[in-house]
Amino acid sequence: MDNFEPEIVAFCCHYCGYTAADMAGTRRISYPSNVKIIRVPCTGKVDAIHLMKALEKGADGVYIAACLEGDCHFKDGNLRAVAHVEKIKKTLEDLGWEPERVAMMNFSAAMGQQFAQAAEEFTEKIKALGPSPASQATSKAV
């Protein structure tokens, strides 16, 4: 599993998470290319179904990058996202998966450095966990 390259999906809100990712780009701060970003208007829009779908399709880890708490552009969308993440963690536990495969993160638009660092740390964490049961199943199928 040394050369295991995890698949990671990051749902980023337009105003903070996605902007922070762009900021990392503007400043040329690199992070692992394992992280693929899907833009959403607000992380409150990220349905539990979307998180599960990503895991089912082959993501080894999924996270939500929202505004800092209290700074959500739509008041409390990021707090709702926390609830969705918690729910999925619970579901994963019930399924016998590691709940750490799902995470909630918060950034301000200016936190490009922190975004890159968090992407790196999350990738390392998922690397250590190894492939998710679903992605193991699909790679066997191929």
Binding site: E7, I38, C42, G44, A48, C72, S108, A109
Partner: protein, 1009 residues
């Protein structure tokens, strides 16, 4: 000669560099007619010759004005190239300008820029300054606008042969000079300056040695559109250099015969940028060294760029101005220099030497100033207002950019908006409703069609190409059977690329488009407009962020980065298949403005808006208007600040269109851009007064810093520069009794806990030193500094201070001064690098240059109330640091003054004008597009569970008479929270529907062969 007279009154903008373009776009965005002229063959100015710009290191010029549709650009803005002003008569509001347009000998409407003429006349193309021969057919750079060649007829021997070459029949051999008289309300001068030609200096080998070149030529060599296609090689042997040196202040800040005394303000940053970009591309293969006198990185967050240059990129910095450069037999270069701490000269060999040259006003500019009748200063730049820098000595003529004083792009953009705003005040906005139906072709009905997708990579700055194999990305995209076209546009300006894509959309009858380019945050509206022009609904589009979130962040892993690009593109293609045509909601905008902050900045903005009939609410936290300027007695130029502030307060208080709230804060806020409602709480009153406004200007200022360093707050004789200002103003006897004064710069800034430079302190120290000497000529003033940052013409004051005997002693973080009290005396110990030992100075007064810090409490409150982003050090964050420095990311919010970053009064006032102008561009539109992303309810699926009613942060959903939930599109903000919470999945957020998001996930995980 052809003579034409035009009666329609317009604003005339002279100079088509970024400043002129920005001014012209701002004016046309606020629906005022404008003519932009440039004597050159194409607009773009210096910026288009830069490889990349700092601090973002990319171009993005196309994003300057995303809210200006191409249609209104056509209606309000005319561009005339190869055109000069020959005379200006009349007065402000009613000038007559005479313009002369040189013959281009090419019909630009017919020219397709195919390049055939250039091929047949191969001695061709003037392209890169100093690196290419002059040519009869001449296109300046690949991104040229207009996209057409021009011919120097005198150099063409066989006109018929030239005509025969042109398939488009665009050659006009008998084209003549044209004279036009136009009616002009006001003039904006944005004519810039030339770069100093270092070949007149005899010690650095500029123009003589092959491998010595000025900074701009280095940019051209690094540029993908440059002479070596972006390959960094030496001119002498086409080999990659291993050691590159930069020499700062070449021709600037000097006293030699060919030097100018002023500082050009931009060279430190561009040298750092060039060194960083070199390091980014070649890493440890190239060693970079910068020889400098003072590192002047005083712009917003520039200090952090400087720190990264040192710490992350390992750029070597040597503080000294070298003596000479000599060429060695192998064409390498030997620099002789002396460091201040060593008495002996040192010699070092480099492969390439870059001379950081600054700005010089050209003779043409000086002549133009004469023709217009404006005064110049002693350095031949425009003599501008000391308090109001965009005004000139002539009413109705405004100046912006480098011709006002040397400056970088963000400051030029601010001045351009400011000059446009003032120039536009004499001209009414035209009533013109943006009617998409009439301005765009009718939208093609794509209902029922199978997806036919066009995939296009738009890589105008070459950033994607540099990191990723675009051809492979295209190939991969083409494996999708429904991708009908896949093409890349490398290094062509996005405007040109978009025109071609429009053609391809029509030609192939495409019904979906995927663009691989920069961030959709910046570029989406631009490409949506492209779809409208091509007759497609703008929502049949997906953007793939190949640049900001791929090319720029995976430099270390090219193969994986390419793999990621395939996957991201597949995500876009899969997503766009599910896209639906959507209609947008329009809302009439409130015509009122809210200005938060009643300092000089806020008052200036409010007055300017109010003068144009905008009802403006001005909210000030303090009991009186005036802000920090109340603590300042005079500017370095000698303006009486108190009198100026009083004048402003009187005008603001008396203005019928301004409603002032003092001792007041904003407490509640709702609404959408263009239609906000904000509650204002005054004094101890618990009730809020609700006001409607279409735009919001943040001018809340910053806080004078009072760090507990060097004994401030403990020792009696230690004070801040502001405290000293008060003593100078009120207690001359105290100054007269002083014998020695020590000033310590960067007190509390450029330190680990506050890494940024406060920008204002160097000039404040020089100002106060000169004032001390004026009151008491016998006083000895010592300024302990790290880098003296008297940028621009302030260098003159710095020199005067030195001439008058003020002693400037440098220190660094390893040798910080120490202030102590001993037997009732205040003693400052400092390290003298030249003597190589510590010295002690007994001081009657120690003045700390403490600068400004963000007003954290206020900014935090406002950011959470308005949902606005901040910088890491707590200032407000603008939308685009380079090109949109006073707009905020949230439409309808603008930012000015020290709330943006520390700056002096004249810079704050410029921003105040700029935001007033930017706000006008929004108000002039009368209505605003809310976009199409609103939530809709499927009545059949709705179980009336009320979850959406409770979940919506804005209380929009309600249960209607038909017993299902209903969402008013005009009130919905488009967050999608209700859609995520709805247990029956009866709610969908348009443009972000579940099947679209799931399609993206599917695309991302599609398997590849």
């Amino acid at each position: 000669m052809q003579k034409i007279k035009q009666d329609e009154k317009r604003v005339l903008v002279i100079g088509g560099g970024v400043g002129g373009i920005k001014a012209a776009l701002d004016l046309s965005e606020s629906r005022k007619k404008v003519l932009l002229i440039d004597s050159d063959y194409a607009i773009g100015g210096l910026m288009t010759q830069l490889d990349r710009t700092f601090p973002t290191n990319n171009c993005d010029l196309c994003t300057v004005s995303p809210h200006l549709s191409a249609a209104s650009r056509e209606k309000f803005l005319e561009v005339s190239t190869m055109t000069e002003l020959t005379s200006l008569s009349g007065e402000a509001g009613n000038f007559t300008a005479t313009l002369k347009t040189a013959p281009r000998f090419i019909d630009i409407d017919k020219c397709t820029a195919c390049g055939e003429c250039l091929k047949k006349f191969p001695e061709a193309v003037r392209f890169n300054p100093g690196l290419d021969p002059r040519a009869p057919t001449c296109m300046r750079y690949p991104q040229a606008t207009p996209y057409a060649y021009s011919i120097d007829m005198e150099k063409v021997d066989d006109v018929e042969a030239l005509k025969a070459v042109c398939k488009a029949g665009a050659i006009i051999p008998d084209d003549t000079e044209q004279e036009t008289q136009i009616n002009v309300a006001s003039v904006v001068l944005s004519v810039g300056a030339e770069m100093f030609d270092p070949s007149v200096l005899d010690n650095y080998g500029g123009g003589k040695f092959d491998n010595v070149l000025p900074g701009l030529e280095y940019e051209r060599i690094m540029s993908a559109s440059g002479p070596f296609q972006g390959n960094l090689v030496r001119k002498s042997d086409q080999q990659r250099p291993k050691k590159v040196a930069w020499i700062q202040c070449v021709g600037s800040r000097g006293i030699n015969v060919d030097d100018v005394p002023y500082c050009s303000s931009v060279c430190c940053m561009y040298a750092l940028k060039e060194a960083i970009v070199t390091k980014e591309r070649f890493g440890d293969d190239i060693e970079t060294t910068i020889f400098y006198m003072d590192m002047r990185t005083s712009g917003k967050d520039y200090e952090q760029y400087f720190n990264r240059a040192k710490e992350d990129f390992g750029i070597r910095l040597i503080r000294c101005k070298p003596h000479t450069v000599i060429e060695l037999p192998d064409k390498s270069l030997e620099i002789t220099y002396a460091r201040e701490e060593l008495s002996a000269m040192e010699k070092e060999e480099f492969d390439m030497v870059v001379l950081s040259t600054g700005f010089r006003p050209s003779q043409k500019t000086i002549d133009l100033a004469g023709a217009i009748g404006i005064d110049l200063n002693e350095h031949n730049f425009a003599k501008s207002g000391t308090i109001d820098p965009v005004t000139t000595s002539k009413d109705g003529v405004y100046v912006c950019g480098v011709f006002e004083s040397p400056k970088d792009i963000p400051e030029t953009m601010v001045q351009a908006s400011a000059a446009a705003s003032l120039a536009g005040m004499t001209l009414d906005s035209e009533e013109w409703v943006n009617e998409p139906v009439s301005l765009y072709p009718p939208q093609r009905d794509v209902d029922g069609e199978a997806p036919k997708i066009g995939f296009f990579v738009v890589d105008c700055d070459g950033e994607i190409d540099q990191a990723l194999d675009i051809d492979k990305i295209l190939e991969n995209a083409k494996t999708n059977p429904d991708v009908a076209v896949a093409e890349a546009f490398k290094l062509s300006c996005s405007f040109e690329a978009m025109e071609k894509i429009e053609g391809l959309i029509k030609e192939h009858n495409l019904n979906r488009v995927v663009i691989g380019s920069g961030s959709p945050r910046i570029q989406e509206s631009m490409f949506q407009d492209m779809l409208r022009r091509a007759g497609l609904n703008p929502y049949l589009l997906e953007l793939v962020n190949l640049r900001d979130q791929n090319a720029w962040v995976h430099n270390d892993a090219p193969a994986k980065s390419l793999e990621k690009a395939f996957r991201l593109v597949q995500m876009g293609i899969s997503g766009v298949r599910k896209a639906k045509p959507l209609t947008e909601n329009m809302l009439p905008t409130s015509q009122n403005a809210l200005v938060v902050g009643g300092g000089v900045t806020g008052m200036t903005s409010a007055l300017e808006l109010a003068d144009q009939g905008t009802l403006t609410y001005l909210v000030e936290k303090a009991p009186v208007l005036g802000g920090q300027a109340l603590n300042l007695s005079q500017t370095i130029e000698g303006d009486d600040v108190a009198a100026f502030v009083k004048g402003l307060v009187d005008k603001v208080s008396a203005h019928e269109n301004i409603k002032v709230f003092t001792d007041a804060v904003v407490a509640e806020h709702t609404g959408v851009p263009g239609k906000f409602t904000t509650g204002i709480k005054t004094g101890a009153d618990s009730a809020c007064e609700q006001i409607d406004h279409g735009v919001t200007i943040l001018a809340t200022g910053a806080k004078p810093n009072r760090p507990a360093v060097y004994g401030l707050g403990e020792l009696d004789n230690v004070m801040t520069q502001l405290d000293l200002d008060a003593v100078l103003e009120n207690d001359e006897s105290k100054i007269k009794a002083m014998e020695q004064v020590v000033m310590i710069q960067c007190a509390g800034s450029r330190e680990a806990d506050n890494p940024n430079c406060s920008r204002i302190c160097c000039q404040a120290a020089v100002k106060n030193a000169l004032r001390l000497l004026e009151v008491n000529p016998d006083i000895e003033v010592f300024v302990l500094y790290r880098d003296m940052r008297t940028y621009g013409f302030w260098e003159d004051y710095y020199k005067t201070a030195r001439d008058k005997g003020v002693k400037f002693i440098r220190f660094d973080l390893e040798h910080r001064p120490v202030v102590r009290e001993e037997a009732g005396k205040t003693i400052v110990r400092a390290h003298d690098f030249i003597l190589g030992q510590d010295i002690e100075i007994e001081a009657d007064c120690v003045a700390l240059s403490t600068g400004f810090v963000a007003d954290a409490d206020t900014n935090n409150e406002l950011c959470s109330l308005f949902h606005l982003p901040k910088t890491e050090d707590g200032f407000f964050l603008e939308d685009h640091v380079k090109l949109k420095p006073v707009d905020m990311a949230l439409h309808g919010f603008f930012l000015a003054g020290t709330a943006h970053s520390p700056k002096v009064i004249r810079e704050s006032i410029t921003q105040a004008h700029a935001v007033a102008g930017r706000a006008r561009t929004m108000l002039a539109n009368k209505e605003i597009t809310l976009g199409a992303a609103y939530a809709t309810v499927d009545p059949v699926m709705c179980a009336v569970c009320l979850i959406c009613v409770r979940a919506c942060p804005y209380d929009v959903p309600f249960i209607n008479n038909e017993r299902h939930s209903e969402i008013d599109p005009a009130k919905c903000r488009g967050c999608g929270i209700c859609a995520a919470e709805c247990p029956a999945k009866a709610i969908q957020l348009r443009a972000w529907e579940d099947d679209q998001i799931i399609a993206k996930i599917d695309g991302l995980f599609e398997r590849y062969n």
